[in-house]
Symmetry: C2
Subunit: 670 residues, 2 copies
């Protein structure tokens, strides 16, 4: 419509086809000044161009590229000499080569401090999380030694602190315990854990190599908030065993069986254990609170766990508390990780279990690792390549599974401490690993008297941060459906099981997306007076119906899932509109604005043809506005067989369509 | 932008802010005529209005209504007196009351002819399909007697011919045979079939009552074409047993085991059977061909099966062919359907199996019934209410399961014959049922000598029509992904199993829809010179980049599945664009056109805030254009906590945004 200005520009007010006025329907009085036949051509209506022709192969290529390589990781390679390309490829695979050459002493100082800080967190947490997974405590320390070294070489995040994490430990333990008892068959259990770790690494690396990283995007924020909170509660509940000193604890995880077990064994409660546990829990939570309140004191909560371990060990040692009902870790062997590739178990009896466990823990830990990496990269404004990170984390776990480590990833709490302590590069992981190495070599005997109750308190203090009430409130305020997803994930984890809670939440999220396609938004549009802008009548009160026209905008791809709905809904709209407009003028034109229809499939094309026939049977005309590239292409292809959509029912803008159709209507029905 | 005309309308050429020209970036030479400060206000830029406030409850209500009652079935009820409303409700539930009162003799004549025609098809097909489901042949006739009567009362389609169908029979037989052998335990097998039918009816009626009819829309045309063709081949392969006279036939269904079985038992092949089978098959296919070529001769193919049965039975009787290796049906009892509610088996041993069988056969047969109903309704231009049809078909099967019938629905082939024979109302079903009744009461002894090979030939001739080569070609031409879905459904059915082939095809279809959300289309838009139309640069060659601006249109809901992708992709676009534009002017404004974003969730909002911050860090400005109702609402809600999106970064059209921002840029950077 605006193109008119070319023809009428000089004539001042001129013919203003945009304003809402009764159009030339049968019932409308013909204007005395019937426009000349040449007017429509003179109006400079813009044609809907077919998109530039492309072969199926090139379209496929473009789609594959956009699906799997949206970040175009090799775009810097173009136009470089071969040698440089090789160098860039090596640097791409080993990000350490990017920062190592320019590494300086001042950077090292920062990394040293942050590395030591996270080591003080990693040692007690490593031991605790291994116990959470029903594994020997030393496996937790092994896992804080080799994987961080691997990550330093392969990883592209500067802030990620690598090691075992609570939720993956919980899930691995609970899934494997369903088949094998860790107390009855500890070696088999360890073998299964290592094999699961191997599969987890394989899944993670494959996702990265196959560039399927977007799969973890299906765990939405709402799902994760609910899931994390539920898992935190499940993990905390498990610590009641250590915290209350119960010996015969349930092996189940749900809220109900655990609480039943706790109150069924009240006789086993040990007041010494409870007293010690509560004291250290209060201390840890207070330290956490201090660090949240004054972020500069981040080291308070970072050092509290190690301090707790040291103090409690001393207390036990001095008062011989192990004889007063306080259970202790006991003897731990010194020495570094032993190779464990011979322990991987590909026996068909347990293959299904280990693969499933690997898949679930792999995806969950990957989600945490990637989210942590992205968060801190965004804070420091550098890029983290999701797919490359997946390969790094995956390889780290494959290597880990061959060196007595169980599943590891970037932990949120430790990475936050790392970041706050001022880490500059992944070197802080190396410092941490070396500190753990020293511990493994020389300090293990010191943990003999460490009481289990303190490990429980450390876990609770660590996971309590996963319960994010403000995020839940934000989700509630923003989006009620997201809130439902969040609650379902939470309730599912607490009452059913960790995996099923997650599955339910993902299912609801996907169902919601499908529903948006199945019942797409459609708007009846009207003209904003004095312009050629057309907008939703319900949203913009100043928008007015154009009499004689029904202008519908569809906001979704048209496909098998919605073509029946669209068909029936549009028919109903025409009936209702005909009924309303009858009073003034008849309905003559149905305009479908396809601007917001990104794609159409065969069912969608069938729907367009069908609705066109229906509309023509009722003596009206269907007009399509602004079909995008793919839609236009398919319309062309339909026209090759039989011309369903002639050029005169395709317009570039609603304004132009309304203007030239009303001129046409006036000419043909004087 | 167009609103400017209000201010500049009279001045002829005037100030034309739409034309593409270097905008006032830092590098651009300032125009000597810097616009006055009041200009922007005078330009009459339209504000983005917040949508009219609605409570969560009313929004929920609207969404629920649009999801479950898109056809608004009770809209005619409004404003009617209570008595009329009651009458309308009864008529809604029993559509027979709609047409019965006005039923005339001339309508009856048409229905009589078409009813007799479809009866001649229903009797041999009923017997054949029952054998396909490994049920006694008489159950097929029972199923052509009671269900059509029920449908006549409840159904709203005038053309549907109700009875057993090939694919549902195949699936039911194959699923139940996995657990129970029909030859070893015929009574148990029948009980399971009846129970499955009961559950199928329950599922169908529930889908209708709960208004979940859209679930069958997820079986897209492409899926169905592939599935039907595969099922037709599987069904035909099963007939090789009868056609070749093999006694020891495999119980499996796949292409490979059936062919292996056929060639493993070549000694059992009986030349008499093969000769008879081939002759009748050629006769039936020829009749089918005649009816397709000359549609007026529809009765040729309609009567051919019955003719085959009569002729073959006579031949066997006359030549005592049963003694020469031709197997016959054998003795059938006379009499109508016996009540069978006492045969329904809700034993826990088989409950899972019957429920699953009921679910699968229920949904498959529903899909066929609804599709057939819609097809003929569209031909005769009347409406079929999908959900009401589901209730009718479901109740028909529940009643059927209590009267010795197995699963029935509207069959495509028989309905086509019904339509061609000129049926006017559902009364033709009653005529058919009465004819079947007469057969059941008096003619059953005549089928004693009917050879099984003819039944096999009848099935093959019936299902061959399900292989729709032109449709496959059309799908291939229109949409390669749909073609893939079609091929997967076909191959899955043939090589794996009927249910899994279907599941794979549905899975791929849904995955494709999800991928459209996960990797949404984004377009870089440019200005079409001399207008304020902005269109995809790749599609419209006449569209030109506006220097200083990057205009991106997003075409999908923004949610958890794509917010990471959008974030990274937009950043990459900004980098690439900055790089390209450096030569002339710097990039100043990123415009996101949200016209085609129907919805946004919490992850999406987080993405908008994040990308805004990123853009501001790079000294550019983010502008949102035309957020729709829901998106605008969420932006408002975000602003309540902290004003992220001020009114001056929200515009109603891209044209207005470009015009006023370039004026602004000129003013602030002279």
């Amino acid at each position: 419509m605006v193109g008119m200005r070319g023809a009428y520009g000089g004539s001042g007010g001129g013919y203003n086809g945009n304003e809402s006025r009764p159009l030339g329907g049968k019932a409308a009085a013909p204007t005395s000044l019937a426009p000349p036949a040449g007017e429509i051509a003179a109006m400079g209506v813009h044609k809907v161009a077919p998109p530039p022709p492309r072969s199926t192969a090139s379209k496929m290529k473009a789609r594959v590229k956009e699906t799997f390589f949206p970040d175009d990781p090799f775009r810097g390679f173009k136009g470089q000499p071969l040698g440089t390309q090789w160098l860039m490829a090596v640097k791409y695979l080993f990000p350490i080569l990017d920062w190592m050459p320019g590494y300086s002493f001042s950077l090292f100082k920062s990394d040293l401090i942050s590395g030591l800080t996270i080591a003080s967190l990693a040692i007690p947490q490593g031991i605790s999380y291994a116990k959470l997974a029903s594994l020997p405590p030393i496996v937790g320390l092994y896992s804080s030694f080799v994987p961080p070294m691997v990550y330093t070489v392969l990883g592209s995040s500067r802030d990620l602190a690598v090691g075992p994490v609570s939720i993956a430990s919980l899930i691995m333990g609970s899934m494997l315990r369903q088949a094998v008892s860790p107390s009855a068959e500890p070696l088999l259990f360890l073998q299964l854990a290592l094999t699961s770790t191997f599969f987890a690494g394989l899944v993670q690396a494959s996702l990265g190599i196959l560039r399927l990283g977007f799969i973890i995007d299906f765990l939405s924020k709402a799902t994760l908030v609910g899931f994390m909170a539920g898992a935190a509660i499940i993990v905390s509940l498990q610590q009641l065993k250590a915290l209350l000193g119960i010996v015969h604890f349930t092996t189940e995880m749900g809220l109900v069986p655990v609480m039943a077990s706790v109150f069924h064994h009240t006789k086993e409660w040990s007041w010494q254990t409870i007293l010690m546990g509560v004291c250290f829990l209060v201390f840890l939570l207070a330290a956490r609170h201090v660090s949240i309140r004054w972020p500069k004191l981040f080291w308070v909560s970072a050092c509290a766990p190690l301090a707790s371990v040291v103090i409690s060990t001393l207390l036990v040692f001095l008062f011989k508390a192990q004889n007063h009902g306080i259970s202790i870790i006991g003897q731990l062997k010194c020495g570094l990780n032993r190779p464990s590739w011979d322990k991987l178990l590909f026996d068909t009896t347990y293959l299904g279990l280990t693969m499933k466990t690997g898949l679930v823990t792999g995806i969950i830990s990957l989600t945490e690792g990637i989210a942590v990496g992205r968060t801190f990269a965004s804070l420091k404004d550098y890029q983290v390549d999701g797919n490359k990170e997946m390969m790094a984390i995956g390889l780290m776990n494959v290597v880990g599974s061959c060196t007595s480590c169980y599943v590891t990833t970037g932990a949120f709490s430790r990475s936050a401490v790392n970041h706050n302590a001022g880490c500059k590069t992944a070197m802080s992981n190396v410092i941490m690993a070396l500190t753990v190495m020293v511990t493994l070599l020389f300090l293990m005997p010191l943990f003999v008297y460490t009481p289990n109750v303190v490990l429980g308190a450390i876990i609770i203090a660590a996971v309590i941060g996963l319960i994010d009430i403000p995020a839940v409130y934000h989700i509630w305020k923003m989006d009620k459906m997201d809130f439902l997803v969040c609650v379902c994930a939470f309730a599912g984890v607490i009452f059913i099981s960790v995996q099923e809670g997650l599955a339910i939440a993902v299912g609801i999220s996907i169902f919601r997306v499908l529903m948006q396609i199945t019942r797409p938004k459609m708007m009846v549009q009207g003209n904003i007076k004095g312009t050629d802008i057309y907008r939703d009548l319900h949203h913009y009160k100043e928008a007015q119906r154009v009499s004689g026209f029904l202008i519908l905008a569809i906001e979704a791809p048209i496909n098998f899932a919605n073509s029946n709905y669209l068909n029936e809904r549009i028919k109903r709209w025409i009936e209702e509109e005909s009924f309303e407009q009858d009073k003034q003028t008849e309905l003559h034109f149905i305009i479908l604005d396809l601007s917001a229809v990104p794609a159409i499939d065969t069912s969608g094309i069938a729907f367009l043809i069908d609705i066109k026939k229906t509309i023509e049977k009722r003596d009206m005309e269907l007009v399509l506005v602004n079909p995008t590239g793919e839609v236009m292409e398919k319309i062309q292809r339909v026209n090759e067989a039989q011309t369903h959509f002639r050029a005169d029912c395709l317009y570039l803008t609603t304004g132009e369509a309304v203007a030239s159709l009303s001129v046409l209507a006036k000419m043909t029905k004087p």
